[in-house]
């Protein structure tokens, strides 16, 4: 009897596999065509339908968008699959992770058309053109205006302010190990207090009652009093958060403000993936990402700043946002050499 059961089971397995075989054949055929180009990116990527359609019409390529999880794991996934990449262009590697991508050789050099319209300070790989800057944004402490007006207290503007007892128990930030704004905030303090002084600063911050949560959503929407039902009037978020928050209710003055001395600049890049199946299409796609249409569409889609000079900003950005002058930054190789050690030290200092 067992032999018969076995045969029956084997037969159904063969049937199952045959069915799978024909289907997977269809699946891979659609990805391999020369007329489509695949963009690998993170889950925050967004673009207007008509802007994307315009590119498809004008270039003749259809675009497949493959979204991973957050930026960090998207980059890691690209590193792991570099010999046989999942697509042609990667978008969304930022200056905190750039060296990891470059050192692992996941990109092929390509000098994009229109590069001369991007300020040189944003072109971190200008010598080799392995990546092209597409947007930038600043991670800064946001404050709840109503809270500080009611308490008759000036909102903090600098890192020193945040450690001041007047602002005790008011700040919530994200876990630097799991959240990109959390890491940016840590890096900003390293830039401000140097490699030797940042640990002292964080001890003070801890003594001043800083709260750490896992992700940005939790910090901004659950703990921050300016945007949600939380009770903390200070949160680590983005310089573009105030325009986003107010874009629908449109109050006279922004309900939240930005502590301009606490900002860290994040620049996001796109690059042609090494071993890409459709390199020509990939190049066209990169040109498109820094072209006028995409750059104008981007602020209200992803709430970041266009890199293309003289791109007009949406009205809500001008009205509720603030242009950050002289933000903190660190060069990518320094970040890459120390990231892990800093996060480890930070974790044992603040979280545990």
């Amino acid at each position: 009897m067992k032999r018969i059961v076995t045969t029956a089971l084997a037969a159904s397995l063969a049937l199952g596999l045959a069915a799978c075989g024909s289907d997977s054949g269809d699946g891979s055929a659609s990805g391999a065509g020369d007329k489509s180009v695949t963009l690998v990116t993170h889950d925050s990527f967004a673009v207007s339908d008509d802007v994307l359609k315009a590119f498809e019409k004008q270039s003749g390529y259809t675009v497949d968008i493959l979204k991973g999880k957050d930026a960090g794991s998207a980059v890691n996934q690209a590193v792991l699959s570099k010999d046989n990449p999942q697509g042609d262009v990667f978008f969304g590697i930022d200056n905190t992770l750039l060296s990891r991508g470059l050192d692992n050789g996941i990109f092929t050099p390509y000098e994009a058309k229109g590069l001369e319209r991007i300020p040189e300070i944003l072109q971190l790989d200008a010598g080799e053109h392995r990546v092209t800057p597409v947007d930038y944004g600043d991670v800064c402490v946001n404050y709840d205006r109503a809270y500080f007006e009611e308490k008759n207290l000036d909102p903090p503007q600098s890192f020193d302010d945040l450690a001041d007892p007047r602002y005790k128990d008011l700040l919530v930030t994200e876990n630097a190990a799991t959240s990109s704004p959390g890491l940016a905030f840590l890096l900003a303090t390293v830039d401000e207090y140097s490699k030797d002084g940042w640990e002292d600063y964080w001890s003070k911050l801890r003594d001043n009652g800083v709260e750490v949560v896992d992700g940005w959503e939790q910090a901004y929407y659950e703990r921050f009093s300016g945007a949600g039902k939380g009770d903390k009037p200070l949160v680590v978020s983005y310089a573009s958060s105030p325009p986003v928050l107010d874009m629908e209710s449109r109050p006279k003055e922004a309900t939240t403000g930005v502590s301009t001395g606490t900002c860290f600049r994040q620049i996001e890049f796109a690059g042609l993936l090494a071993n890409a199946g459709n390199a020509e299409g990939g190049k066209a796609l990169i040109d498109f990402l820094i072209g006028e249409q995409f750059q104008q569409d981007m602020p209200l889609q992803m709430f970041v700043h266009p890199v293309r000079m003289n791109t007009e900003l949406p009205e809500v950005f001008l009205r509720y946002g603030e242009e950050i002058v002289g933000p903190h930054s660190l060069n990518p190789p320094t970040i890459d050499d120390n990231r892990e050690q800093w996060i480890k030290t930070w974790t044992s200092l603040v979280v545990k």
């Binding site: 397995l13 199952g16 799991t178 750490v212 896992d214 959503e217 929407y221 659950e222 892990e340």
Partner: protein, 534 residues
């Protein structure tokens, strides 16, 4: 045996080996010298210590709370018993993201307990331990209760007639018979809690990490593959040890026990003491198991404009979070789970048949090996699939079949464990008798084997289906962005801010729960108190 062995070689051993090798090989040479360095790291030791003690504590707590329930389900008859048994099993197959959010809704900031009494348990160890009890309650109830129901109560009565006190009779008669089953259940719970991932991530906050969480962080956050590889090997070794002990207890359990039909051992509870016990068990089940599920359902209807179907209606629209309306995830999940079930039943059935037919240490080793995927880090499997199955002849990376393959990997152990006892019980002489009486082999199979095995296949398929439906860890890495499964869609909705997204996540979870509960209720009808190993 060839088919299941090949399946495991290609879809388990090879991908896992590839990702471990990526971490431990440098310039074509193995770098085992890295192992002591990682194991000597005090942070890693801290993680290992937490993994061990929380698993031990979770197992103890689960046993304390679930053993009385096993007794009640085995010995008492009461109205609604079948429904309650099915409900108790629902948590076991729920995806951790859903359970995590249910516990947050119950014990987190602004949750039900916070609102009523100001009690918050999130980011404490208690939330983790209680969530583990929630998940594994059914393992104890099913494994121990199934056997308990078939133990002849007259043996204990006989001992009492011979003058033994109540406790002594229990200790000398029932406990030795139950012991191996309790040990096996405890080991399974230990295995599941030792490799806990979603619960720790969602409820533990940044401060707690199990080995599994640390493997994920090292791989996905730091891309420190060498450390991740060493941790994966460490976890694999620990799991293999647990499984070896488990296999040993299972074999001891197979020693002959005098078993009777479960219908004859259960009766109405008598007296105040027994009724109090039943009441207590029902109360524990209600508070620990049903309350989180009920909160989830309640939240799915609690729209800003009062209770209604608003969140369910919103599931039909696509809003930019997904390329498709979230409701399509239901169809995706059902299709994936159906394919995964077919694969799991075929592979698991063949494996069970092979293990029954032959004995000896090799086959016993194979039996234990089949359980290994249950204890292997899902992130290791997911990333392994990503880097290993990407070149001809096995270029499956952009194919949808990867998802059901990964899900089947978790389903197979359940199929094997359900089919084994039944296959072992089929008496070869029955078939020979049929042949002697003139039946063709096909007819003999149809008349003798099929009726005996069919029920086990159905039960196994039901389990594999429910488990596949809930699989999250590996699926999240390989599910195509345009074809999310239910748990993946729930996780993505939970990761987005805003009341509507949260409500939609709760609504999708409720749908998932309903599908799981329905398939388990069907199972319950087919199964009629069979003593499987789960």
């Amino acid at each position: 045996m060839a088919v299941p062995a090949a399946f495991f070689a290609v879809f388990f051993a090879y991908p896992v080996g590839a990702i471990v090798a990526r971490g431990l090989r440098d310039g074509g040479r193995w770098q085992f010298g890295r192992i002591p360095g990682v194991l000597g790291d005090p942070d890693v030791l801290g993680v290992l210590w937490f993994t061990l003690w929380q698993a031990a504590a979770s197992t103890g707590l689960t046993l304390v709370l679930a053993l009385p329930a096993a007794y009640v389900f085995a010995r008492f008859d009461f109205p609604g018993k079948q429904l309650l048994r099915a409900l108790v099993t629902v948590p076991f197959v729920m995806p951790t993201v859903v359970v995590g959010s249910a516990f947050l809704a119950l014990t987190g900031r602004g949750g039900v307990l916070d609102g009523w009494w100001g009690i918050r348990l999130d980011t404490t160890v208690w939330a983790i331990l209680l969530a583990h009890v929630f998940f594994n309650f059914a393992v104890v109830v099913r494994t121990v209760g199934g056997l308990w129901a078939q133990l002849d109560p007259r043996q204990e009565e006989a001992a009492r007639v011979l003058g033994a006190g109540r406790l002594a009779a229990w200790r000398h008669v029932t406990l030795p018979a139950l012991g191996p089953a309790v040990a096996a259940a405890a080991l399974m719970v230990f295995l599941f809690t030792f490799t806990s991932f979603g619960v720790i991530q969602i409820l533990g906050g940044p401060a707690y990490a199990t080995l599994e969480v640390e493997i994920y962080r090292q791989t996905a956050d730091f891309l420190d593959l060498p450390t991740a590889a060493v941790l994966s090997l460490l976890q694999l070794a620990a799991v293999a040890a647990v499984l070896a002990v488990h296999a040993w207890t299972v074999r001891r359990r197979e020693r002959a026990l005098r078993l009777v039909a479960p219908e004859t051992t259960a009766r109405r509870p008598r007296g105040a003491g027994e009724r109090a016990l039943l009441g207590g068990v029902v109360a524990v089940v209600a508070v620990l198991l049903l309350a989180p599920l009920a909160v989830l359902v309640e939240r799915s209807f609690a729209t800003p404009g009062g209770h209604g179907l608003g969140f369910y209606r919103a599931l039909q629209e696509s809003d930019g979070t997904f390329a498709v309306p979230p409701l399509e995830a239901v169809g995706n999940s059902l299709a994936y789970a159906a394919v995964a079930t077919v694969i799991a039943v075929v592979v698991g059935g063949l494996a069970a048949a092979a293990v029954t037919r032959r004995a000896g240490p090799l086959v016993r080793g194979f039996d234990a090996l089949l359980m290994l995927p249950l204890g292997t880090s899902a992130v290791t499997v997911g990333f392994g699939f990503l880097i290993a199955l990407d070149s001809p002849p096995l270029d499956l990376r952009s194919s949808w079949i990867l998802v059901p393959l990964a899900q089947a990997l978790v389903g197979v152990p359940f199929v094997v464990r359900t089919m084994l006892p039944v296959l072992r019980a089929v008496d070869d002489r029955l078939r020979e008798a049929a042949a002697v009486l003139g039946a063709s082999p096909l007819r003999a199979w149809r008349e003798v084997d099929l009726p005996l095995v069919r029920r086990a296949v159905l039960v196994a398929a039901g389990f594999a289906f429910a488990v596949s439906l809930g699989e999250f860890g590996a699926t999240v890495f390989i599910a195509g962005p345009d074809r999310p499964t239910l748990p993946v869609a729930v996780a993505r909705l939970l990761g987005r801010a805003g009341e509507t997204n949260y409500g939609q996540a709760m609504a999708l979870s409720t749908i998932l729960m309903a599908v799981c509960a329905a398939s388990l209720l069907l199972l319950e009808r087919v199964r009629k108190n069979q003593a499987g190993e789960f």
